[in-house]
Each structure stands twice: as C-alpha cells, then as structure tokens.
Symmetry: C2
Subunit: 440 residues, 2 copies
C-alpha cells in the first residue's frame, strides 16, 4: 500500500494547537506506518509568532498570515484551535469556502453555531469533525455517531467538565470550601484564571448540546438546556449528602422521557456512592450511555489537557484524510429546530428526587412544619438527618431527602419553606439523580 | 438526502443471528432516518428452519440453501453468525469470493484465521468488520482502529470474558466454591453447557489476539499468548488475597515492554481493590487502555448477550454500507509474523509481583524455610499472612506476597518450595498485576 500525503493547516498555537503540532511532527512516521496517511504540517497561523511553545516547528511554517493558509490549495484539512466563537465562526466559514475540511476542538462554537456551520459545510461539500470538542481524549462522539448507530439512545449521564469534577472531588475528600478548592484547581492548571464558563455549568452545557444532538439526531440549541453551576455548593451539603449515601457531581443529563420528550440539563447532582460515575475523581471525565440494544455502556478518560485533546484532533484528521469523516458527516441527519422545540421538556416538568437543607430554629415544631409543607405539595419524605447541637446563630441544619416528585411541586414547596418563620433563609435544594444501573 | 437500500444476507440464526435479524427488522425505520441507510434482510440461512426463534422473519427469507445467498448479486453484505472455525472459515472465504463484504462476531475465527481471511478480503477487494468479535457491545475495536489512531498503545488490560467474571464475582462476594459458582452461571445462561473455552482462558485469548493485533499493528498468533484459566482457583485464595487488599479477575493483558518487546497473556490476576477494573462485577466487560497521547482510557459495558452483540454487528453493517469499514480495512497494516515473532516475550521473561500460598506443617522453621528459598532466588517478600489454627490434616495456609521479580525466578522458587519437607503439596501461585493508574 502506498502512502498518501495530506497537508494540514493549523490555526491557533495555544495548548491544543501545540499538542496537535507536536503529535504530527513527532509521531508522523508511526502514524504513516499504521494508517498509510502521511500528515504534513504545512502552515501554522497564530497572532503570536514569537513566544516559546512546547513544540519546535519547521522553519517557515509559522505565520501571522491567515490568507497564506486559506489560499494554499494544497492544504486540504484545517484544524481550528483558536477557541471562542466570533472569530472562530468567521474563520471556519472561510475555511469551508476555501474548500478545506475542518477538524475542531471548539465546543462553544460547535454548540452555539454547529447547525449553521454544518449547513455551510454541506453547501461546500466539506466536513467538520469535532471529536475533540467533547470529553477530550474519550472517543464519545465517534462512539455515538458510528459505533452505536444501531441503538436508540435513551439516556446520557456525563461528568464532562474536569475543572468542576476536580473541585468537587477535593471538596468531598478534604471537606474544603469551594473557594479553597477552586484556588487549588487554578494553581494546578485545572481551572483557568477566569473559571466562570466551567463552574457555572456553561462548558458542560456546550458538551451536552453536542452529544445530545448526535445521540438524538436533533438540532439542539443551548436554550434547550437547563443549567445550574457549582458556585454556591457548600461543603456542608456535600458532607450531609455523603452521610446519607450520596456523592456530589456536576452532571450533564440527557434523558428521553415519555412520548419522545427530552430533558436536557446540567446541575449539581447527588448520585449513589456505589454508582460507577461516583468513582470518577479529579480531572477525569466519564459518560454513561444507555442504548436500546447495547444497554449501559461507560467511557472514562481524560476530558482535557494538551495531549489527550490532541489525540482526538489527530485521530479526526486521519479519519477525514481517509474519507470516513466525510461520509459520516454527509449522513448525519438532524431533525430541524421547528420539530425539536416542542419535544424539549422544561425543568418544571421533570421528575426527580431531592435533597433539601433548611436552617431551623432549635425549637418545637420544626419537623411538623416541613412535614406539613412537603405534604401539602404531595412530596413524600425519604430520609431526614438532624445532628444534635446548634450553630452560632442558634439555628440547626435539617436535611431531608424526598421520593420522586415533579420539579414544579418542589419549587412551590421551597417557596413555602422559605416563608415559614421557624426556618431561617432560603432552603438549599440539590437534585438526587438515580442513574439507572444495568445490573444482573 | 435520499435513502440507500442495502440488502443483507445472514448465516446462522442462533442467539447472535436472531438479535441481528430483530434489530434490522424492528429498528430499520429509525436506522434509516438516522443514517440514510435502509437495511433489508434479504436472506437468512440456517440448517434449522423449523425451530421457534425470538424474531419473526418475513415469508421466504429463511432457507437452508447457502447458495441462494452466495449467488444473489443484490446482497452486498453478509453476516457470519455461525460460530466455530472450520465451517465458518470456509464460508467466509466463499462469501469473499462471491464479492460480499463480511460482518462477523466470530472471535475464534478472527483470532485463529484472521490473517488468512484479511488477505483473502484484500484480494477480493472486500472488507471484514469484526467489532462484535471483542467485548460484545463495547466499541473497543473501532476505538483502537479509528478513534485512537494517533496513539501508540502501550498497555491493554481487559476483563473480556463475562462468564469468568460472573463466576469470580460470585466466588468473591459469597465465598463460593468454583463448581457452585459455575453451576449458577450455567443456570443463569452466563456459561454454556460446555464452559471449557471460557473458563480455561481460550476465549479471552481469542479476544486478546484480535485487540493486540489492531492495537500494535502486528499479525498475532494464538501461540504468542500465554494462557491460564480459572478452573483451579480456590475460594480460599480469593479470600486471603482479599484480606491483603486484592480482588481476583481473569485479565487479558497486552503490555509493551522495553525495546518494543510485547507480553501477551491471559491469567488470573490479583489487582488492587480500588482499581477501576476491580469494580467490574458480574457478566460485564471492561478494557483499560493506555495510549501515548490520551493516557488511560476505560470502556465498560456488556461483553456478550443477544442484543449487545447485535448492536455491534448492525453498527458494523452500517459502517460497511457507508464505505467507512472498507476504507479503514484497506488501511489496516499489520507487521508480518516473521517480524513479529522475535518481539513476543515468553512468560519467563515477564516481571510481576506474586501471591503464593503454601500449606505448611505447624512446626518451627516455616518462616525460615520460605524466607531462605525466596531469598536464594532473589525474591523480596512484600507481605505475609498466617492465621492461627490448623486444618484437619494438621497443615496451615501461609500466604506470601512478593515484590516485583522475574517469572523465571518465581518458577524456580516454587519448585524448591514444593520439594521442601515442611510444606505439603505444590504451592499456589497467582500473579499480582499493578495496573498503572493515570492519576493526578
């Protein structure tokens, strides 16, 4: 078999871009021997051509001139490793117009403008490969798009943000405050200087939008996804939940409900300590999928980082070069927004179990109060926990877990609990998620 | 996008074949809507056309006549779901000669005759897709062949036989004898009436041969794999190992050693109780892979069963229909046997930690004896366990764990231990496997 040489253009020489360049330059021979595809890094574009990078580019490859890349007809595949949405969107549209196939790790862009970009790619008879946009090195996009095609996906539960998982793991293991755990994550390089998009759940929502879209075959909009972050999680609730058998994770959830309605949400979730996802610690990602034929299937690995992400990008490049991505892309059919919108369930419609903490005055009537209020909203109590002793302000934390109820009932009950004089401040409420375990 | 109809031939209407037929017939519309590929079950061949099956075939599809399938030019993809090696090998060669692409779940055939069949496929410009041959519904073949192409795979640790894992899980959880756990596995349908190929490790070796071949890019022969089964595992050793922090699993191991040498082996393995694979219970499979760029990555799911296996077969059919399998197959380059053979390390050359149990007479000199013998062979003791009290024959079990040593040293030491008068019978020896954990 003879080797086929494919010339690659790369825009953005940050962490991901440097990893991609490194992998192509250092492992090119091995990749060529294994696949018959010789990757040639023809042009790298970055606004900064001076700073030292963890990779040495061949003379003359690095440039500030994007037109050199766009105008080079011999470059067939471009990696967009710029990040962000405005410039990157414009750039990808130009790449497609210039006849390039695109490989990207840009989850925000794919989540927000994927439908538009897919259309532009189709019009230009090009493809966009985006394995690296979700869960770094874990091949979850390819698993859903190709290996599990025979299945109807009925549920998806993912830990898809390593920053949040690192923070929550440390808050759990060391009984640390959020701020302390965040500072440590930043120090170790697991959280950015501005961690907003990670900790407020947006990044997880981006990934859920992408995964749900290909799993369901729907055009998904970020508006379809209900999002809560982990910014206001207290170590006390992690500890109390732990005493009741639960572990706190930020989950991205895609759930097919009755009559094909779908719930898409990202929120802190108490899950059973012995469930598979509860054991995913530190910066790792994991996704548990449920397929109509395959049952439960779980993928675990590094969801971020230079080389894991580069692994996904370069594997995608090879898939594009072989023509496989193009074929799969052509056959990716997504139900249009107009049909999808009525199928998305609002957060009020979902059913869940709940963990509630109220701060109660240590006087008679506490149990009667929350018992009455929850009862009035048809909510059945599953467990309760009240340690002896009181805090400095004279209140005591009372923790209650409920059986399954509708979110709208819980929201109404929380309102009433807040108004009740015997309780101080707004109650804390965290969903308890029963991940279906495929057991025998 | 218009739909493309693909006519499918299926040989063998047993468990796997019935699942494949069921999925094609019952989910055809959904699959067509999602992929643009309309699967049409054109012809099903089985020697038994009378028995009731869990699927209702359309009139006229089922036949005993293999030539009807082979001669039908409109059938482009054939599923070989016969199992076994002699008839199936002949059948696959005929399918290829008749111009059909093949999808198979037949691990024994792919492991034993894969190299020959791949050549035949190439000569006929056809492809063989074999995702379902390893770990049922887990897309591990596609992950290695396509999603992780950018990586050099340095290690593979798999629980790839659900029967053995079910038996060992029950022996562990309930302190059951092997025979009791086996009978239960048979009753529940997790073990065949003749369980030999599962419990002696052959089935795991078949899967390891296939996975190692694609992970390393080598033509692998079953002779390259050292195999021990679980038939002679005693519940006592599982218990003692458990007391020392280990859990017993039958592992399929592919390990890249120094200078590109490779160790391929299947044997009972004590692994740390808190490692990810230790938590894989019952009939489930899991594979932990280590890639040069991606780090550790783990796949978990159902390794067998009608629908999980059918999930893999039908996804493969779609991949073949799209042309992706053909492209990937064409680019699958395997280093020939002549070059691979010198790279395979013998079992004597591997390094491992070990668990040893000797039955010792309860008299002075026991510790001195095993201490001296292990010392003479340069083996360092890591832990020891001797419960008080003696068995009915007056001997007591003494359990020793060692630091890393070469297998050849351990084999020599076991010989000397057996000859020592203070010990009764041959010592029990089980390898302790340190699965590298990618932690932060």
């Amino acid at each position: 078999m003879c080797e086929k040489t494919v010339r690659i253009g790369l825009v953005g020489l940050g962490t991901v871009g440097s990893g991609v360049a490194k992998l192509i330059l250092e492992d090119g021979d091995r990749i060529a021997a294994k696949t018959g595809i010789r990757l040639e890094l023809a042009c790298v574009v970055d606004v900064d051509t001076e700073s030292k990078r963890p990779v040495n580019l061949p003379e003359g490859v690095l440039t500030k001139d994007i037109d050199r890349l766009l105008g080079d007809q011999s470059i067939s595949i471009c990696v967009e490793a710029v990040g962000g949405t405005d410039f990157a969107r414009d750039l990808q549209l130009k790449m497609l117009a210039a006849g390039k196939d695109i490989v990207t790790a840009n989850k925000a862009l794919v989540a927000e403008y994927g439908n538009e970009l897919y259309r532009a790619a189709r019009e230009n008879e090009r493809c966009i490969a985006f394995e690296a946009s979700c869960a770094g090195g874990i091949p979850i996009v390819s698993a859903i798009r190709s290996s599990l095609t025979a299945n109807r996906i009925t549920g998806l539960y993912g830990i898809v943000n390593g920053t949040c998982n690192y923070i929550l793991s440390n808050m759990t293991a060391r009984n640390e405050d959020f701020a302390v755990a965040l500072a440590e994550a930043q120090e170790k390089g697991y959280a950015e200087a501005d961690p907003t998009l990670d900790i407020n759940g947006s990044d997880s929502a981006h990934k859920l939008a992408i995964l749900a879209s290909i799993a369901l075959g729907y055009e998904i909009s970020l508006d379809d996804i209900y999002v809560e972050g982990i910014e206001s999680i207290s170590k006390d609730d992690i500890r109390y939940g732990g005493e009741m058998g639960y572990c706190l994770k930020l989950l991205a959830i895609g759930q097919v409900l009755d009559e094909n309605r779908v719930s898409l949400r990202v929120h802190p979730s108490f899950i059973a300590k012995d469930s598979a996802l509860a054991r995913v610690d530190g910066p790792f990602n994991a996704i548990s999928l449920f397929g109509s034929a395959v049952g439960q299937i779980l993928f675990y690995g590094r969801g971020a980082g230079m080389m894991p992400t580069a692994s996904a990008v370069v594997s995608d490049i090879i898939d594009v070069a072989l023509g496989n991505s193009g074929t799969s892309f052509k056959h990716l059919k997504l139900k249009p927004r107009s049909e999808v919108k009525p199928l998305i369930a609002g957060i009020d419609d979902i059913e869940s179990r709940f963990y509630i903490r109220v701060m109660a005055k240590d006087e008679p009537g506490v149990v009667a109060s929350y018992g009455r209020i929850l009862g009035e909203h048809g909510i059945s109590i599953s467990g309760a926990l009240q340690h002896e002793g009181r805090g400095p302000d004279g209140t005591v934390p009372v923790v209650i877990t409920t059986h399954i109820t509708q979110q709208r009932n819980m929201t109404a009950a929380l309102n009433d609990l807040e108004k009740e004089a015997i309780f101080s401040g707004a109650p804390v409420c965290i969903r308890i998620v029963n991940i279906p375990e495929d057991k025998d």
